[in-house]
Every structure is written in C-alpha cells, then in structure tokens.
C-alpha cells in the first residue's frame, strides 16, 4: 500500500439505508496491520474495537482467538483500495457470518476504487451489514459513497460535521440506480 491515511474524526456519520443521517461515537480503531509487530493490538485494556486489514485477516482468520473476537463483535475488516475482493469470494462469504463491520479505504479522496468495492459487497456478496468509508474521506464524497453502498463514514479529522450532515439531501432525484433505490426516471414510468 503506497499511502495509508487512516486517522479519522472522533465522530462517525451514520446514514442507514432507510434512516436519516446522524452522528455517533467512533468505537472502532483502524489498525494498519504493521504496528504492534504484526500482532493484534491489545483489546483487553482498550475501549476500541479493531478493524484489521483484509490481507491480515486472510492470514489469521483460522486462529481461534481471532474468530472468537470477531464473533464477539470486536474484530471487523477493512479493504484496501487495491484488494481484489473477487479473488477471495470464499473468505468473504465466510466472513459475512462473523464480521460486525467492514470498511473500505480511500488512500486519497480522488481514488474511486473503493466505490466499486462497496458496490460489489452490496451487489455481488449481498453484504447486509454496515460498510464504513475510511481514510481520506471528505465531505464531497459522502453522496457518492452513500449511493454505492456505504452507510457510515469516518471523515478526515478536519472535516466539518455540520456541513457533512447536509450533503445527503442535496438531491431529491437520480438518473441511475443505486444501492439506495431505483432511479427516479424509471420509478415514475414503471407503473
């Protein structure tokens, strides 16, 4: 991974599929997989749950304590922008039963690969749980993210939450389908 930006705002923007945008505390620590000598950060004494890199999960998901912690809601995974999730469809299918949360990473805001990752997780894998946008997440990506399948957003720390919350109602119409619904242009015709 060329660039790793995973610091985030202390508050998370949640936008459930059939709900309204709202703020919540960030309970999840995004772990790069490289610090702590490659071992899981110590969760016993921390208040945080941990999102591990998908590549780390691939190596460690057979370990009993990893599975236990995931099932306890303490471990989720995040996908790097260059992870080819379709190559590991079996692992993702299995993960669907244990992960409390998945995330997709934006190394820089103008790298749109994670939009396709989210679309595939929703469309191909039918992942029903939360998908969080992490990394270089800026206010002006929220609308696109919300439409491809993200329903929570760990904004970059400098982003203004009041401006962020207003993004989701900028448009009342759409001209292509998205995870959130059918295009308005079709909905009005398909009677």
């Amino acid at each position: 991974m060329s660039q790793l930006n995973i610091t985030s705002h202390s508050e998370i923007v949640h936008f459930p599929k059939d709900g309204k945008p709202a703020l919540g505390q960030n309970e999840w620590q995004v772990w790069s997989g490289s610090q702590d000598e490659g071992g899981l950060p110590d969760l016993e004494h921390g208040a945080h749950k941990v999102l591990v890199p998908f590549t780390w999960w691939l190596e460690h998901h057979h370990e009993a304590d990893v599975i236990v912690k995931a099932k306890n809601g303490q471990i989720g995974v995040w996908f790097a922008a260059d992870d080819d999730i379709l190559k590991h469809a079996d692992v993702i299918e299995a993960g669907k039963t244990v992960w409390p949360l998945v995330a997709a990473h934006f190394p820089i805001f103008r790298d749109g690969r994670s939009f396709s990752t989210a679309a595939l997780l929703r469309g191909r894998f039918a992942w029903q749980g939360e998908i969080r946008a992490i990394g270089d997440v800026l206010i002006d990506q929220l609308l696109q993210g919300a439409r491809v399948g993200f329903d929570s957003f760990a904004l970059r720390p400098d982003q203004k939450l009041d401006v962020a919350l207003k993004q989701f109602d900028l448009y009342s119409v759409t001209t292509q389908n998205s995870w959130r619904g059918s295009r308005t242009t079709r909905a009005t015709l398909s009677v």
Binding site: S2, D84, F109, R110, D111, G112, R113, F115, S116, T117, A119, L120, G123, R124, L138, D140, Q141, L143, Q144, G145, R147, V148, K160, V163, L170, Y171, S172, V173, T174, T175, Q176, N177, S178, S182, T184, T185, R186, T188, L189, S190
Partner: protein
C-alpha cells in the same frame, strides 16, 4: 429535440445549488484548492493560464436557438464576447470568474443546459454524429440512446473518480463522423436482421501521448442492456486501471496491457452477474425519450437538382454559391431538404471554432428561420443547420455571408481543427492559433483549396492532443524544447471509417517554418497525385518518403539532432 422533464430540471437545479455551496466553501477557505479541483473539473471549470475556463456540455451536439441565445448572453455578460466550440461538442468560455460560475450555471439550467462532467476523471459529455436523425447514410438515429446514456452517466456515483477521463462516442451511420475508434468506448449502433437495435462496443481507443485505435470487444449487444454492460466495463477499468502514472491511466493502456480478448473476458465475467439487473433500460424509458426525436414538421417538397438550386442565385454569384453548395451543404433523408454547415473557420480568424456574441445571436435567428430552431455542433468545430429547405439555400447563404460563417472550406485544408493552445491553455507547450492563422493566410486562394480537395489539417498545442493532430491527414504538434516552441509534423492520419494514426516524419520545426513545410508537403501531393485522388490516398500509395524529403528541403534551423517524440504505439 429532447425536452427536460421535472426530474431532469430538478437535477440540474440541485446541481447548481451543490456547486454554489462548493464554491462558497472554496472562497471562505474551508475547501482547499487541491480538494476543490476535482469538484470544479466535474463541473467543467478549469484554471487556465490567465483565468478560469468553463466548458459547457452540448450533449451529442444538439441544441436549440434558445439555448444558443443563452450561450451568447453568457459570452456577453460573463466573458469577453465570444465562445469556443470544441471537438467534443462542448462550448468553452475562456475568461469567467470563479465567483460568477454558479450564476452562469443557473443561467444554463434555465434553458436545460449544464456543465456536468465536461471535465474531470469521470464519464465525459457523450458525443455523436452531428447529422444524427438527418444524415442520408444513417442506419440508426443515435439520439435516443445518447440521451438515455447521458442520463445514466450523469452524476454516476460509482464512476465519479475514475483513474482518468472517460469519453464515449456513439455512431449510427455508414460514414463514421465521430472518430469512434479514438474514444475510450465507441458504441456503433446497428439494426439487426430482425430489426432489433444492437450495439458493437469498441474499447481502449484514444489519442494523447499514446494514440491507439479502439478494439472491438462485444458484438450485437441489445440496446437495453447497455447500462449493465457499460457498468461492468467501467467497473473493470475503475478497479484495475493504472493510478500510479497519469500518462498510463487511460483505459487504452489497460486494454493494451491485458489484450482486448482478456479485457473483454473480464468485462463479460463481471457482466454475467449484473446483466439481468434493474439497471437496464426499459421500453417505457425508451418510449419517453424517443418521442422527443421524432421528425420535425417537414413539408412535402420536391427534391431539387443541384442545377435547380444553383439557378436560385444571380449570375454573378452562381460560381461562389455553387462552391458553397459543394462543400457546406450535405444530403438529407427528406426530399427537398438539405443540411448546411456554417464554417467557424473564416480565414484570418482568431481561433478555429470561435463564435462571437453577435454571431451566436444571428445564428440563433438563422436556426429559427431556416431549421426548426435547432442546431448541431460538429466534431470539426463548425455549426450545422440540419433541416434547411433546398429552395431557401440561396437566401440562407446570403444571410450566412453577412455573419462571416459562409466560407466554403468544409473539409478543405483551412477547415483546421485546433485546440486553444498556449494562448490560453496552461498545459500547452506551444501556441496553436497563430499556426492555424498563418496556414490560413498562406492558403487563402479558394480556387486552389478547391483543387486540392479533401485534406484534414489538425493542430495540437501539446501531447494531450485536444486538436486531434494524430488523425489529421497532416498533423501539427507543439512541443517544448529547452523552453522554445517547436512543431512536429505527422502525416497519414485519418478519421472516419479508415481511421489511422499519423506518423511522425522527423525532427520538429520552428513556428515560422510551418507554412513553408505545409506548402512543400502540398506541392508534393499535387505533383504525385493521380487525377481526383485525395491527399490521403496519394500518401498511402506513394508512402511518406517524398513528403518527408519535401518537408525538410528548406529546413535550416533544425539541423541539431533531437529526440523525436514517438507518435506510434509506445
């Protein structure tokens, strides 16, 4: 032509509000320039050498007199009294301010226009044949599909930050007037034997630093599944297109690296999962859109012969009028009608493709009087009145003369395609416009131009190739060498059905040498041609050597050996 419904109108109005807020955040400093840049580009706003430039979409080239009047108004109120029509069916304003841009977009929204995705790393304005719906050689009227694709691509969330810009062209006629194979995706529409509308998909074409012609990756795709197929194609590109190197980020590099067969296989693999999805177009959507592209209220008119039309003119004007008929008037599907090209390349013009405020207002009136209030913008940077009664051609010609848009140089050497070049563009290595002007001044004799016949001459101010020099029979490319402006010549490029990428002939020239170089190349053609043989055919028959020898015969200043920029498929 297409008329916005409430959904389209709401969307462009809300887009104006969104951009107004983004501009306000930029101006109050809460949005950094680096982070504003992709946002403004997706609204067609560039920061140029001297000022901001706004690029407004003319989807598939079709617009109304009312829209042209708004474009004129914007040029008058917010710019410096002109607009520049581009090769991709947009109009650009070179002198707007950031502060005014939201108001300009609001003016555009009032007449069902916008600047959405005219730039940036997203699906750009979709282009098509300027003669769609009227061309005599048309198989399929491309406009309903273009409009459906315009809607599908507008603010598409998954493809808002692609590795690089992404350009579609759609063709439906025997003669390709869209440079189909030089697009990221070329869509060739056809009617099958069962009268089903289908598409052949070409991918991975493009000009720029590494010019490549697109490859056929899918045959006979039913029209209604275009959204799911194109989603699959773009998803493969979004996930695997290179992002490490700006110059290798276009889809053409991915298609070339994988090979067209493997690329097609990957797209097919993705498409298998979504081909039956709700993304696909429905018949109801087609019906809603297609009703806007019915034929206008044509009169039942007899077809006039060329002689009958020429006889409309006075004796003294007959020769000049006949010339205009030959070059600027095209056959039509409907008896008694013709399509007229208004040349935006008068000799000595400031820039090919420019129209002044006054010209825009006047041309809007011409559209109302002669062509059902509709216009087309062409890939060659001219304007078209598509539905003119043959019996009114002489009258129209006289009106066009008053506006200086009647020069009969369509398809001739001085119908130059040129980018704005170093006079405006911050990317350019060299100027384009003075070169175009010098060539037009050198070849100002219409008799001679007519004798030379069809020749395309395209000029780009840098390797990005906005002037499409790779597909000009004669291409001129501005290059920078040690801070000096030089010009490299390519020969043998061609657009249309026999599309070809031109070859670099050798070391580059100083600007003041170019008119002589072009003259020498043209003289070689005249000496070598068989009767009625067009330039490109002579070139293909005799090869590059005599042209190259002629081009360099007087060259004195370029003696030092230099590295030739590869015009091939590096």
């Amino acid at each position: 032509m297409y008329k916005y419904d409430a959904i389209d109108q709401t969307l462009v109005d809300q887009r104006v509000a969104q951009f107004r807020d983004q501009v306000a955040r930029r101006l109050d400093g809460s949005l950094a320039e680096e982070e504003f840049r992709p946002l403004r580009l997706q609204n067609g706003l560039y920061h140029q050498r001297h000022a901001y430039m706004l690029r407004v979409a003319i989807p598939y080239g079709l617009f109304s007199s009312k829209q042209l009047r708004t474009l004129a108004l914007i040029s008058e109120k917010y710019d410096r009294g002109y607009g520049h029509f581009t090769t991709r069916q947009n109009i650009q304003y070179n002198w707007v301010t950031l502060e005014d841009t939201p108001d300009i977009l609001a003016e555009l929204a009032k007449v069902e226009m916008h600047a959405i995705q005219t730039s940036g790393n997203c699906i750009r304005n979709i282009t098509s044949d300027a003669f769609a719906g009227v061309a005599g050689d048309e198989y399929v009227d491309t406009r309903p599909i273009c409009e459906l694709l315009r809607q599908w691509s507008t603010l598409h969330p998954e493809f808002a930050h692609l590795p690089r810009k992404f350009k579609f062209a759609v063709n439906g006629a025997k003669e390709d007037r869209t440079v189909l194979l030089c697009h990221d995706v070329g869509i060739e529409l056809k009617k099958s034997s069962a009268s089903e509308l289908t598409a052949d998909i070409y991918a991975g074409g493009g000009m720029g630093r590494t010019p490549i012609l697109g490859s056929l990756i899918k045959r006979d795709l039913p029209w209604n599944v275009l959204p799911s197929y194109l989603t699959a194609l773009l998803r493969v590109y979004n996930r695997f297109g290179r992002r490490d190197n700006l110059y290798k980020a276009r889809i053409k590099i991915l298609v070339k690296a994988l090979g067209p067969e493997e690329f097609a296989r990957q797209v097919e693999g993705e498409w298998d999962h979504i081909k039956n999805s709700d993304d696909n177009f429905t018949q109801a959507e087609w019906d809603r859109v297609a009703q806007h592209f019915t034929k206008p209220a044509y009169k039942a008119l007899p077809a006039l012969s060329n002689e009958q039309v020429i006889n409309l003119a006075t004796e003294v004007e007959k020769a000049a009028f006949a010339r205009w008929l030959e070059r600027n008037v095209k056959p039509h599907q409907i008896s008694g009608y013709a399509s007229v090209i208004l040349s935006l390349k008068p000799h000595g013009t400031v820039a090919p493709g420019d129209a002044t405020t006054a010209q825009m207002y006047a041309i809007a009136d011409l559209a109302d009087h002669y062509s059902f209030g509709e216009l087309r913008a062409t890939h060659e940077q001219n304007l078209v009145l598509a539905d003119v009664e043959q019996s009114k051609l002489y009258e129209l010609w006289q009106e066009a003369k008053k506006q200086k848009v009647s020069l009969p140089n369509i398809g001739l050497l001085t119908d130059i395609i040129a980018c704005p070049g170093g006079d405006f563009c911050s990317l350019a290595n060299a100027k384009s416009l003075p070169i175009a002007k010098a060539i037009q001044e050198r070849f100002d004799d219409l008799d001679y131009l007519f004798d030379l016949g069809d020749i395309s001459l395209n000029i780009s101010g840098c390797i990005n190739s906005c002037g499409h020099h790779h597909v000009g029979n004669i291409g001129v490319l501005g290059v920078d060498k040690d801070g000096e402006e030089w010009y490299q010549i390519t020969l043998g490029g061609e657009q249309g059905n026999d599309a070809a990428i031109g070859k670099v002939i050798g070391p580059s020239f100083y600007a003041d040498e170019i008119p002589d170089v072009i003259t020498n190349v043209i003289n070689t053609y005249v000496a070598q041609r068989n009767s009625d043989e067009p330039f490109i055919e002579t070139y293909r028959r005799v090869g590059v050597t005599p042209f190259k020898d002629a081009a360099y015969k007087n060259a004195k200043k370029n003696e030092k050996v230099e590295k030739v920029i590869d015009g091939g498929t590096a």
